[in-house]
Amino acid sequence: MKKIFLSLLLALPSAAGAYDRGELAEFNDLYRNGQYEEALEGYKLIIAKEPSNQWAWYNAGNALFRLNRIGPAVFNYAKAFMLDPRSQDILVNLDFAMRQTGQSLAPEGAPAALFYLYYVVSETELEALAILLFWLACLAGAACFLLDGGRGGDYAGRVSLAAAGLLVSTVVWLGARQSSPYSSAGVVTRAGGTRMLSGPGEKFKTYASAPEGRLVKILDTGDEAYYEIGLPKEGIKGWALKTEIEKL
């Protein structure tokens, strides 16, 4: 099992390296020439093929920003940020785009170092880390039982307990991240913002609006056409058309 696991670890980065670099560079040439729409189409193709490619999301965000579509730009930067929160380029552009919409990347008053520490790994990475720690804890535990009584068994037992402890910490961290603005969130992508209705349908009263590019909490996805969204800062929630909100 360990051999399989190690093989998996080694195989995945090599698979990542197999990505066609020339394609992205080709679309970047379009971007450089000011053909933002064409470049955006290209970046979308890469995203469709490889949704975990943060640079495709980031470049798409740039193209959208140049096209003055600030809401979709924020969404694309936020996707890139969720995939790779350590990239300074992504952080800077997301922060810049959010400031254009009256928001800030880091909560006001929060120390920047704490913010970066909190987001040093992405939610996906945290989940993957939790899974890997789960595997390690189980396999080391199994080794501990199999080598029962020997020194190897003791060592495997300690590894298993340490992995279990780290797993608990990771799960707690992951739980804390659920309160992050980027968790269970969406971005208003409709130009001019979206209306917030008091219920999932046109017959309900409009009592608020969320501006384009605004990061919102998605509270309920059950309805076919509407999300229930919340604006934590203002303390209001309402229903908005799914076509006007992109879920992160």
Binding site: G17, R21, L24, Y58, L83, D84, T124, E125, A128, I131
Partner: protein, 618 residues
């Protein structure tokens, strides 16, 4: 006043916010010292600009139709927190209203080349002037009454029958350098003017001037003639001993023509219209030059005297009583009083070996109440304590010449004590010296960063997403392995704890294997080895079933043990055990003495006995 306080509070809050690590913010706030003012009064407008650089831009005052604007100084405060500079500058203006009613002060904006900020509009109510009698008690003693008797020069001019004339007078003819001399320039007219007169200020020699707003106007009776007058005042300060001169101030006015109108003149209507004010004659009126005698300052000036003339007090204070070594502390010396504060220079600062002393900044706040130039000037020093301990800044001396007493005065501040604590690493790195600092990097704009052509996902995010892409059931594999190994470990421990039980359970299978092996040996033509194998197997079988060692087993003992442990064992079975044992023993130890019974028969007998014993030995 509330408006002013709220504006100042807002500015202070804005300044506090600047201390946060957020991005640079330029702030501006404006306030007036009151909400309503009489038409002949004035009000102070304070515009507070704060920013995070050592210098902040000066506000751009909009065109105000409703007020005349006079600059009245500026005051500056700087705070340095962790080496970050926050500057707050208050610009003070005197506004004199021009029209009665609710007047608007438009938005005032500042722009530092990168950011722009603006104040909201403000409204001020301008009321009619109150009666002089009611106004009199509010005025300061040295202020001249607004409705005063005409001067001798004015009476002389009036006696000459002049309808329009201008007179200039000073409140004193001799003064010391730096002593305030007030000049009053009054423009009298007993006839209506066709348009607003144009005033051209007088040039000065050996004098500098400071406006004393507002322009006063009123009416007075001179020799039985009613004159309307406008009065412009200014404060003058002589520069050097010797003669000084106020040259002619000029007023250019459109006055009605004095030509008589003949009703039978063919141009009667044209001339009538001209006299009614539509047209007039441009005339220039000038004051007589005034010569002043500027006396030299008396000898005996104190050592620290630097030319300040007036009446002052001086105080010193640090912005906080405690600091860390290496932290910047603002130390301010404030000179308050009446006199030409613009000319007051910083007192000599003593040598302070316990501090690094950085360049000074001065701020000036000038007031002009009662036609007296007064206010305060603050010199701010940045002191950085070199080491911890109780550190004292000694008294600072300030000397000035008081013209009313014709004497020098020397004042000194109280000593200021600072409790300096041990500084941290961050404090040691504080270095503030705007005079020698290199030119700062100025951001002229901001934009998103360029697209990236990095090759696909980095390995870590890719690995993470690949791990998450695994089917859920795969994550049950380690759990299954864990449970299996747990069960195995438990089983192994149980086995180790109960060896006889496992020997008992395993006896049949081992015996069966031995019989199969014996059959192979028989077929291979090795009957003796086969019998030996069967003998050993039978001994071991009985040993495993009875839980005793093979060496400790005899036929009799074996039968007793079987009978004791397994009461269901029949006598027939025991007889067969004895019989097989004897036959195997005989064949094993003396093959020659053995009967015709072959090894194959023994194996079959052993096999049948096993079946029977397995049913009974439970």
């Amino acid at each position: 006043m509330k408006k002013f306080l709220s504006a100042v509070t807002a500015a202070a809050l804005a300044a506090l916010l600047l201390a946060a690590p957020a991005s640079a913010v330029l702030n501006v706030a404006a306030g007036t010292d009151r909400d309503s003012v009489e038409i002949n009064g004035n009000l102070y407008l304070t515009v507070t600009v704060s920013g995070d650089s050592a210098s902040v831009p000066e506000p751009k005052l909009p065109n105000m139709q409703s007020f005349n604007i006079y600059s009245s100084g500026r005051s500056q405060s700087i705070s340095i927190i962790n080496g970050k500079i926050t500057t707050t500058v208050s610009f003070t203006y005197i506004l004199t209203p021009r029209f009665i009613g609710v007047q608007t002060i438009p938005s005032i904006s500042v722009f530092n080349g990168k950011e722009k900020a603006a104040t909201p509009e403000m409204q001020v109510t301008v009321t009619k002037a109150r009666q002089p009698a009611a106004q009199q008690p509010q005025q300061r003693p040295q202020q001249a009454p607004r409705q005063q008797r005409p001067t001798q020069a004015a009476r002389t001019a009036a006696n000459r029958g002049e309808q329009i004339f201008i007179k200039a007078e000073t409140d004193k003819k001799t003064a010391y350098p730096g002593e305030q001399i007030n000049i009053s320039i009054k423009f009298y007219t007993s006839v209506p003017l066709s348009s607003n007169p144009q005033y051209v200020p007088a040039p000065f020699r050996n004098l500098i001037s400071e406006d004393l707003p507002p322009v006063r106007s009123g009416e007075t009776d001179i020799g039985g003639v009613r004159y309307a007058y406008s009065e412009i005042k200014a404060a003058l300060f002589a520069l050097n001993p010797g003669p000084a001169e106020i040259q002619s101030a000029t007023v250019i006015a459109q006055v009605p023509s004095e030509e008589a109108i003949d009703p039978f003149d063919p141009n009667f209507f044209q001339k009538f219209m001209a006299i009614s004010g539509a047209q007039g004659q441009s005339r220039e009126f000038a004051t007589d030059p005034i010569k002043l005698d500027i006396k030299p300052l008396p000898p005996g000036a104190p050592a620290g005297f630097s030319g300040a003339v007036g009446n002052y007090s001086v105080t010193a204070a640090a912005d906080r009583p405690e600091a860390r070594a290496g932290e910047a502390v603002n130390f301010s010396i404030t000179i308050i009083g009446s006199g030409n504060l613009k000319a007051v220079t910083a007192p000599k600062f003593p040598e302070l070996p316990d501090f690094k002393v950085f360049d000074t900044m001065s701020s000036l706040d000038v007031r002009k109440e009662g036609d007296v130039i007064s206010g305060k000037k603050t010199f701010t020093y940045i002191l950085v304590p070199r080491s911890e301990g109780k550190r004292t800044i000694p008294p600072i001396k300030f000397s000035y010449f008081e013209p009313h007493l014709a004497a020098y005065r020397e004042l000194q501040t109280d000593p200021v004590t600072l409790l300096v604590e041990k500084g941290g690493l961050a404090a040691k790195s504080v270095n503030f010296n705007p005079a020698t600092a290199a030119a700062p990097v100025t951001a002229s704009g901001s934009d998103i960063r360029y697209v990236s052509d990095k090759p696909g996902s980095d390995s870590l995010p890719f690995l993470a997403s690949s791990v998450l892409a695994l089917p859920y059931w795969t994550h049950s594999v380690p759990v299954a392995l864990l449970l299996l190994s747990f069960w195995l470990a438990r089983f192994n421990r149980f086995k180790l704890a109960n060896p006889l039980l496992f020997r008992f359970r395993r006896a049949r299978s081992e015996a069966s294997r031995d019989i199969e092996a014996a059959d192979i040996l028989i077929k291979a033509g090795k009957p003796n080895e086969a019998v030996a194998r069967l003998y050993d197997s039978f001994m071991k079988y009985l040993s495993d079933k009875c839980g005793v060692k093979v060496s400790a087993l005899t036929i009799r003992k074996a039968a007793e043990l079987v009978k004791a442990r397994f009461p269901s064992a029949t006598e027939r079975s025991l007889d067969e055990v004895r019989e097989l044992w004897g036959a195997l023993e005989l064949r094993h130890f003396s093959p020659e003495a053995a009967g015709s019974e072959g090894a194959s028969d023994l194996a079959k007998k052993y096999s049948l006995l096993l079946v029977r014993l397995e049913k009974e030995l439970k």
